[in-house]
Symmetry: C2
Subunit: 150 residues, 2 copies
DNA sequence: AATATTTATATTGTATACAATTTAATTGTT
DNA sequence: AACAATTAAATTGTATACAATATAAATATT
């Protein structure tokens, strides 16, 4: 572990850091979803929950959290709201009473058709070439995979 | 605007979307900063504010917001906390009384030396090659630039 | 000059996020 | 079986984020 030759000035410049554009880009892109998701009555995180349920089917709070990188402190209140809106059911598992099973209602399942508009609209809004998008996704997944290890 | 041939099923898969890995990766990377930033008594967003001030010098709330992609609803309460901690000053401009000038205190300026450890520690924590980091940053900046236009 | 428009912050309200703790159920050990 | 350790959600507390609105100051218009 040798002394790093780069001075504090350079190290701390926003443009020299990976994390800042990552943070800013994520926020700005998510923000662009809002008008399209408003039409579905969903927030971005709720939309993620719905996509996970549409794709993988019914699960538990914990499994949902592992898939979406969210913990129960975020999910529990959000799932309660979504249950109140009639999109899903929260049922304590009889098999393992620690678990709460999340399942889609008919309304929740039906919302999928309307939701297909969202990625299409965003695709037109973002103007990222398919190549750039693929490369970006690849690099982000690589970091996510690496970061999970420790 | 022709009918898109890709079915809803495919469009709505988490793995087929750029935004989800972007969102998840940003969150997970920011979370890794926490232990290092705790030593400085900063949150990640506060760290961004400090980096902007160290790099660009004193500014106004609005300019800070444009640089960091944050609005006054986020910045005002946060800057008040940072002022209370003695890191910066908030002074209503006499020249234009709508503006609030943000300037570093001696303590805030001094924190820069300790903060240089943070990007070094994160660099070791992330294990991203310089090439991947450069490519990723380039693509993220490209999206951020494109998204600002509309 | 008086009024309208724009601009810069601040405030309000809603929705995440997550660390830390709590509670209750299940599993592992002796 | 009894107790310890682990696991799954829920809760608590703190800190963003941002849309919408409010407020006040500066600028533009008539």
């Amino acid at each position: 572990m040798s002394t790093n030759a780069i001075p504090a000035d350079e190290l701390l410049k926003l443009e020299n850091q990976l994390c800042f554009p990552l943070y800013a880009c994520s926020k700005e892109v998510v923000r662009r979803y809002t008008p399209f998701l408003d039409e579905l009555g969903l927030t971005y995180t709720q939309y993620l929950v719905m996509m996970a349920l549409w794709e993988y089917g019914n699960t538990s709070v914990g499994e949902l959290g592992r898939r979406l990188f969210l913990d129960s402190g975020t999910l529990t209140p959000m799932l309660k709201k979504m249950e109140a809106k009639g999109l899903l059911r929260r049922v304590r598992s009889t098999e393992d009473e620690r678990r709460v099973e999340i399942s889609l209602t008919a309304d929740g399942e039906a919302l999928k058709e309307k939701a297909a508009r969202v990625p299409i609209a965003m695709g037109q809004c973002l103007t990222v070439s398919p190549e750039d998008a693929a490369e970006l996704t690849r690099l982000l997944r690589k970091i996510l995979d690496a970061i999970q290890v420790d």
